[in-house]
């Protein structure tokens, strides 16, 4: 710990260079709500922390037409305070608003939420359901990947050691679209999802679901994109039968473990319950929008 070096570069290139130049374990500091906890609990011992919050591009939330670019180091609170974001992507905001507490959201970032690699990250299922694409910068330039390809296991991401998550792109939405995220926790706040479900869907003029994406959190080693669950909705008016099929598909896709936060049996069941409830909210939002 005493060798710890703190660096706060102004440019992405400098940040990548710092990471490339360090042979030991490194940590990128955005909101710090996971990294500093790991330091405090002595689960990581790192010689270098690279604070990315001074890099302008990583802090920006840009709306262009209907599309959004969200800097990886934009905080939850900044998204909550954005004049339009909550109206355009209410389901993503549902997830962001559930991260920790007000204090945590004042610091925690959506980028960090995903890069921490927790399958229970609250903002991730809604981002996956939204079809967000992540831009990643490294020594060899930039690459784009779907958000669902970032987390590859508990605490693990597909990013190389010297790569930095730059931003997320959310596409412009067709009319009659709605999204929602619900999670189950024993407490109302300050808790980690036992199960999380993100649903994003679009209706045509007659109310038939033309596209849908469903994502589950905390029921497997990574957040899941569940196409079978989405297929249960597509082509239907999201009636009771479709919701039953959705719930069954969500429960079937859940591959949880027993842990201190919930049992396997419980998570499988509640995944279906929450999928149904989240889809109902998303449907209401789609009808209104």
């Amino acid at each position: 710990m005493e060798q710890l070096r703190y660096e706060a570069p102004d440019t992405l290139e400098a940040a990548v260079a710092l990471l490339s130049g360090e042979s030991g374990v490194t940590r990128i500091l955005a909101g710090g709500t996971d990294v500093l906890v790991q330091l405090h609990l002595d689960v990581i011992d790192t010689p270098l922390i690279v604070d990315i919050k001074k890099i302008t591009e990583l802090r920006e939330i840009v709306k262009d037409g209907g599309a959004y670019w969200i800097g990886a180091a934009a905080t939850g609170m900044e998204l909550m305070n954005h004049p339009d974001f909550g109206a355009d992507w209410p389901g993503v905001l549902d997830g962001v608003q559930l991260i920790g507490s007000i204090q945590i959201r004042g610091r925690a970032t959506v980028g960090g939420n995903i890069c921490n690699g927790s399958p229970a990250a609250d903002s991730t299922p809604a981002m996956i359901a939204a079809g967000a694409v992540a831009t990643i910068a490294g020594p060899n330039g930039r690459r784009d990947i779907p958000v669902e390809d970032i987390c590859v296991g508990p605490g693990q991401t597909s990013l190389a050691k010297d790569e930095i998550l730059v931003s997320f792109a959310l596409p412009a939405r067709p009319a009659n679209s709605g999204d929602a995220y619900l999670r189950f926790t024993p407490r109302t706040e300050m808790d980690i999802a036992v199960v999380g479900v993100g649903v994003n869907l679009t209706l045509d003029g007659s109310g038939i679901c033309t596209s849908a994406r469903v994502s589950l959190g905390a029921v497997a080693a990574t957040p899941l994109l569940v196409t079978e669950a989405a297929d249960a909705l597509i082509g239907t008016k999201i009636d009771a039968a479709a919701l039953d099929n959705l719930a069954a598909a969500a429960s079937a896709a859940a591959k949880p473990i027993d842990d201190k936060r919930g049992t396997k049996e419980y998570r499988i069941k509640v995944a279906g319950v929450l999928a149904r409830r989240a889809a109902t909210i998303a449907l209401d939002r789609a009808r209104q929008g």
Binding site: M1, E2, L41, D42, F184, P186, R187, T188, E189, M190, D191, I192, V194, D259, K260, R261, G262, T263, E265, Y266, K269, V270, V273, L274
Partner: protein, 774 residues
Amino acid sequence: MGRAPSPWATSIKYEEKDLKIVGGNPSERADAADKVTGKARYTADYNLPGQLIGKVLRSPHAHANIRSIDTSAAEALTGVKAVVTCADFPDMAVEHAASGELMVNFRDVTRNVMAREKVYYDGHPVAAVAATSEAIALRALKLIKVDYEVLPHVIDVVEAMKPDAPVLHDDQFTKGVEPAPDKPSNIALRMESKLGDVEEGFNQADLIIEREFNTKPSHQGYIEPQASVATYTDGGQAEIWTSTQGHFVMRAQVAKLLQMDVSKVKVTAPELGGGFGGKNNVYLEPLAVILSRKSSRPVKMIMTRGEVFRATGPTSGTNVEIKIGATKDGKITAAQAVMKYQAGAFAGSSLPLAAITVFTRYDLENVLVTGYDVTSNRPKVAAYRAPGAPMVAFGVESVIDEIARALEIDPIEIRLLNAAKEGTQTHFGPQLGRVGYIETLEATRDHPNLNIPLSPNQGRGIATGFWFTLGAETSATLNINEDGTASLIFGTVDVTGGSRAAFAMIVAEELGIPYENVRTMSGDTSALGFNFMTAGSRGTAAGTTAAVKASRDAITRMCEVAARKWEIDVDQVEWQDGHARPAGANVGNFEPMSVAQIVKEAVWFGGTIAGHAEINVANGGPGFGAHVVDVEVDRQTGLVKVLRYTIIQDAGKAVFPDFVKGQFHGGAVQGIGMALNEEYIYDSNGVMENPGFLDYRIPVASDVPMIDTEIVEVPHPGNPYGVRGVGEVPIIPPLAAISNAIHDAVGIRMRDHPMSPPKVLKELDDAEQAEAAE
């Protein structure tokens, strides 16, 4: 409890009188302004020049022999000034002492503060380091090599009682069984207590309900982690600032553990950031003193939250079987309890307290209570607000509810029918004096919240609780200052911040001076004679008696001054409305003297005026409370939401009513947390999995509703103001009240604590399947 009541204990009789101050709500509290500005100093806010930081190396194993400890690399690290292990502590013989509501055994205490031959739980201290910085101390801990021989472990109380369970202590043979066993066991004690004949009582019953209940340990969850700052000076003296509920008891225990004279140890209790019984025990204090002695520097130690969870508290996990029989009219004919209580690593759980509170709300003829005190590989349990009582009340109050429903009797009426009252013979010895259970139940029955309609999946539950009030050693000095103001120095720890205000109100009432003229403060161990700790709801109740005695003593001294000035006998002077006055017209015509006038004259007529109390206060008046809770159950997720909560409790006399209500709120919310989510979770190696506030889920503000409260006042005859202890009763009923409400909402009986969503959902599913099968 621990000790038998003394015939020489002090109680001052209750007198009904018009009160000017007591029973009102003062505009300010001595502690409050400093607490809202950040100026209040807690132990962790104290720093001494040249201080080192101390850290503890803790066992990663639930149960292991310590083969060896090599501290040489740690000692060699630059910045490390002292390393200690059990070799630095003298071993202790078996010797018991009261420490709060529970008893301690010094042989075990020394092993708990620093493991000797074995480690008994994940988090058990094995070494400690003092270094010039926290970072260096932490690095030094990693350099200490402990050679463990890992042993099989046991966590659960029922498992620990099995004949083939790993035994923690080879020298522990079950007490209380005949003939004495020849094999060691995790059962430290079997106890039995009875009244009448339960067999006969059950024969008279038309309905017998027998149920088994399980509870997990829960932690006090105070927000201030344990902290100690200590300095050992060359004269062989130690001075300690520590987060404790009883600095005199800490002084005694540190002196004993380190073989020092009590006179050479001084302990100050700074502001305390919550205790709830969890700060009745020594943890860091002896380590900080030893490290200071070895390094010749002051040492500061603060636990991390993880250390607090792994190595302090919690309350006992339990297995409780309750069997109650009643006639078809609802009269209880017999009540039986078998209670298995975890003590943690060393014997001495809250079992004896559970035994005396289990049925003590009811007037019963036939009672049989059997209890087991059981060691297992968990931290040694500590007191937690009404220690032992919530778990047995969970069982008893659930079974009473079940009986009431089966017999179609209102749950309040069945309690009224069987209510404990003055003269009720308890199964553990004494008869109850004047108590307010019936008045509490009647107020509950009449409460408007019982008429609020409920929707589907909502339910209402009722449960009641009883707790006694400790007395014990209590000292106070009331100094009448040279400007006529008064300063009360008391020797208990003001664990809630309310005692200072309450004592000032009492002193102002007694002296007849304004509340603002009285300042009260907790003195360090050099300021007063011995005080027992703040435990057993005794803080305000016992403190009131001491404050009254000290006030009346000071009044006598002031009357003496007036008598000497007026040249009359002291018994011709009376004290009224803050003045010494001639007692009647024939005594003479003297102008009454105020406190300020008397102290001006005091130097000539006697000297400085102070009043004293150095007494053993007799045990106080038992308190009773009733809780009514409305919940809503989400049938698909098992989530239980508390919609509405109502508390009715007998306070005897509420000295500071708004503060008493604050005690009701806080106790109930702790009880709600305990009921719904709080539990210790262990992995298969016996390592605690949730040692933090994220996964040990105490309630947050958005989890609970506003709570309605009603104070019932049935004065306790043995307290000058009728005060009963109020702090502990409110945590007793919530478990059962919530369980009863869940049943009312969705028809399932939760008997396995906590009533967390996975368990509730499983019960709902099982009930649904059972129904489908029929």
